[in-house]
Symmetry: C2
Subunit: 217 residues, 2 copies
Amino acid sequence: MSLVRVHNFSVSLDGFGTGEGQRFEAPFGHAGHKLHDWFFATRAFHAMQGQPGGSMGIDDAFASQWGPGIGAEIMGRNKFGYQRGPWADEEWQGWWGDNPPFHTPVLVLTHHVRPALQMKGGTTFHFADESPAGALELARGLAGGLDVRIGGGPSTVRQFLAADLIDQMHVAVVPVVLGRGERLWDELEDLEQRFSIEAVSSPSGVTHLTFTRRPVE
Amino acid sequence: MSLVRVHNFSVSLDGFGTGEGQRFEAPFGHAGHKLHDWFFATRAFHAMQGQPGGSMGIDDAFASQWGPGIGAEIMGRNKFGYQRGPWADEEWQGWWGDNPPFHTPVLVLTHHVRPALQMKGGTTFHFADESPAGALELARGLAGGLDVRIGGGPSTVRQFLAADLIDQMHVAVVPVVLGRGERLWDELEDLEQRFSIEAVSSPSGVTHLTFTRRPVE
């Protein structure tokens, strides 16, 4: 059975996975780059951009687990774009240009379904109004037997955790206090009882947490 | 100038420094021992209880910084006890028996001032209705030139952080999700700009964060 995985999901010390006030100029709102500077510095991120260079080390080791074995991603609509409600601008094709870094089918969860967008490099955005379980079934159908990544944002990851649909999760805790935004951990009391959790800190200051679902007894 | 320090302050992944529902049988409410199991396992904690044994290693290295150089502690009333409002039970002398582990003056912040309590072993509980700055001035007067420890709970530490009165802080992030209780990090947006922060994870799963106040430029 293919796994459901989360990678490189960054949160602040106060548990925010994104800031307040998302808009075109600020995909993460007032958080700016704070949550992702560790990731941008890695060789894995440079490679995603088609660029040489970047750091090796523990941040890169985690960052580079993002792609291998993944056949499809599920993302919330606010990861796809900054528009809310009906699509005022159907020209919008995501934040990533004409060759997005996913290179697989991507299922965008939205109450406002629109036709699929086929991009360069193997990425196709599909749009569906589905529950987590329904979305996972669709994504598995698109993933060709490979794993499904839950790409965020915070409320999407939280909903999949609440529905107990996630097998493996990597969260990077960044030593900043955002104060406001969208929290990852709300309504997940006792989450640790369902997972084995490892923690390892990086010289960058980030702490990498890995959640591995415990076998059902 | 003596320093203002926080040690062994444990929070959950979702930022709670204590659970909901404190009462005599449950000083940390529904959190039980979850936030402090790492501390109870250390040699430093065993020594505080007058017991042999306990772990060495990184958890103990942090835990044992708690005492040396401290001349007084400031604590919130809810760390001292579970009663709220006027003291219905003046017999209450804290959770720690007749020989508390502090062995210094302890200033308890409360709107309901009462006479000082002199305990065995050098601990004296003083009670004062003061702002953080006023409390610190009193505690420095009691500390004999040594450092002052801010002992908690979460709202006391948060108020001292908000007033920018803390020089060094050790926070232990425990990999549990409490879901409810009292948060440490609220209303502290951009806290990281005032501190240098190190993070190091322990094999116990706990991540030790140390905040060192940046020099004023």
